[in-house]
Amino acid sequence: MINTPDISITPVPPGPGEKAAKAHRFYLNLGPQHPSTHGVLRVILEMDGEYVLDPQPDLGFGHRMHEKMGETRPWSQFFANVGRMDYVNAMAFNHGYAALIERAAGIEVPRRAEYIRVITAELNRLASHLLWVGAFILDLGAFTPILYTFDDRESILDILEDITGSRLTYSYFRVGGVMKDIDDTFISRTRAFIKQLRDRFPMYETLVNTNVIIKNRMTGVGVISPDMARRYGVTGGVLRGSGIPYDVRKNAPYSVYPEFDFLVPVGKNGDSMDRYLVKFAEMEQSLRIIEQALDKLPEGDFRAKVKRIKLNPGMTSFSVETARGELTFFLMGDGSDTPYRLKIRVPSFSNLSVMPELCSYMLLSDLVTVMGSFDLVIPEIDR
């Protein structure tokens, strides 16, 4: 049982006896409105000069009751919601939910549809990583890399817009396959994009990875030991940066991932630089998966015919690997077509919960660096 201190909404000033000891400390709000592009998160910091003593995140500013909407609507109407929880990596959420219903109802998905799912999910993962790199370096104070990554991301968004129709909040997957088939222009554009992004990686390495200012700001900052990572249940790039090679695509494979040959980058020290380099290396691995999938793409149906589904009573779950970590959907059916309970376990919530223990007695600049390296998307925490 994790011992969390009692968090109240407004911080309580010290009592009369403690006043002398704590007189030079003060409270600062890394408030809900903040220039760092994480989302709407309030962190209550008790500060001692430049040092943060005890950061307490205050969540809930963006709660939109998605899980309640899952309970009041039939399962087929939830596809409008899945893309909006984590809008940066909406395909993975689509994948998790569609595969959940397929597992609950025992539906077989055609192989071509599985390949299309993998290709679009990996493209979306690339877009999410590119956005994260840009936003993280923006938090550190450099204003140009974010525009370069957005330039690369535009190509991905154009490719995906051509088949799905949306640029950010996709609701493209359906139970039994995908909504629309891919054609030759998609394949040729994707191949051209893979070559274009591979040519850009040396530029990012020169501008960002080897820069002495960035190396000094990120090495040794926010070291998460493997034991701490296990206790809090962190997943994704944060866990792999600490040395534990856990990736849902390899450890509990789903869809057609076993057919592809890709590596899982793992860091050594668990500091921010390792977390950054691990996710940067994952981009290259995603490119490899897309290349192999395009080479092996089979012919066939892109969507299976699905009869009316009633959700059987009982619990089903399905885990996917998003750009941030392990996402799990839990479904409790009750015989009708509306779930009794739909629970979504998001990776950013567990990643954020490390912060009070990790960031006690740390400089404020380091806190911002650590929060950036976790790759948090607050709307998915608040749902």
Partner: protein, 332 residues
């Protein structure tokens, strides 16, 4: 009594021209910075107002003058209003001694260099007053950081300026420029130039040393609470400070107003001076849009462990070199 009238009239004209120059410099530099930042980021920049967005800063200035001056209730009233004015004074005052060309200089003090450095260190006081009187924790943070930063980067500035003063034997700005008519001092003292440029960049609180106004950590640092004209005075003072630092670098290292004579143009001295200063300022803009921010303790580390030892060694070598050079010249 009537002999004083031309003196007073001249002083008034100088004052008005210098203040106007400060504002015009902010106008030009603001536009150039936005355009260059945009080109580095591969987008066009201001394009709407005027051809290629030339009038953008003019319209921005008009907009900012029309804004309401919001003063927080708990802020220290007189100090809060005074801080922007105080920030503008110590950067415009040293324009008196800057030699724009052989004749174009307001007044040539014999201790001109020392005068500039003295007046420019009032900058720190301004930031502290602005941060303190805002009654805002973020502002106070930015102000405290800026004090430590400015104080620790004053030392390399002074030490590298001292090398040049040793070489020429005078503190007068016009004298230093005239001592460079054969060879520019950057060729003799490249390390002093690099140290001075980096330390000067830190003095102006520009990226990568812009912790006092670190945007993504502290909203806006010491000028969080200022709106309208108070804020724009801080910005104008920052650009004028940049101009001051770059013009000192030009005078000391790049030969001031020296340059080959242009056929069509009478005032080549002023032209070359302004060109060199603006090239250095564009390099500062280029640096700003490339690098992230340095962390605070690493900043102080950098100054005390790298810049100051190097500048001390440079000073010692300069002294030795001068002695050797003079004795060699005496022998020949």
């Amino acid at each position: 009594m009537h002999e004083l009238i031309p003196i007073i009239a001249r002083a008034l004209v100088y004052a008005i021209v210098m203040i106007a120059f400060g504002f015009v410099n902010a106008l030009v530099m603001g536009y150039l910075e936005r355009k260059i930042a945009a080109k580095i980021q591969r987008r066009p920049g201001p394009m709407e107002v005027g051809p290629y967005g030339i009038l953008q800063l003019v319209v921005d200035g008009i907009k900012i003058i029309g804004k309401q001056l919001i003063i927080p209730k708990e802020a220290d009233g007189p100090l809060f209003r005074f801080a922007p004015l105080l920030s503008f004074a110590p950067v415009v005052l040293p324009f008196i001694v800057i030699p724009f060309s052989k004749e174009l200089q307001a007044k040539d003090f014999s201790l001109g260099l020392l005068f500039i450095v003295t007046i420019a260190s009032i900058n720190v006081l301004t930031i502290v007053i602005a941060g303190w009187s805002s009654n805002n924790k973020y502002s106070l943070f930015g102000a405290m950081r800026s004090v430590a930063q400015n104080i620790s980067f004053e030392v390399p500035v002074l030490l590298s300026i001292l090398c040049i003063a040793l070489m020429t034997g005078t503190y007068s700005m016009q004298g230093i420029v005239q001592a460079q008519d054969t060879v520019w001092f950057i060729l003799i003292q490249p390390f002093a130039f690099i140290i001075y440029f980096i330390a000067g960049l830190a003095e102006t609180n520009r990226n990568p040393f812009d912790l006092p106004e670190a945007e993504s950590e502290l909203t806006a640092g010491y000028h969080t609470e200022y709106s309208g004209f108070g804020f724009s005075l801080f910005m104008i003072a920052e650009y004028a400070n940049m101009f001051l630092v770059c013009s000192i670098a030009t005078v000391l290292f790049l030969g001031g107003w020296h340059g080959f004579k242009l056929p069509f143009f009478e005032y080549t001295g002023a032209f070359w001076f302004l060109t060199k200063v603006y090239v250095l300022m564009l390099v500062m803009v280029w640096i700003r849009w490339t690098f992230p921010r340095v962390r605070f303790d690493q900043l102080l580390n950098f100054s005390w462990k790298y810049l100051i030892p190097f500048s001390l060694v440079n000073l010692a070598l300069t002294a030795v070199g001068i002695k050797v050079f003079e004795s060699v010249r005496g022998m020949i």
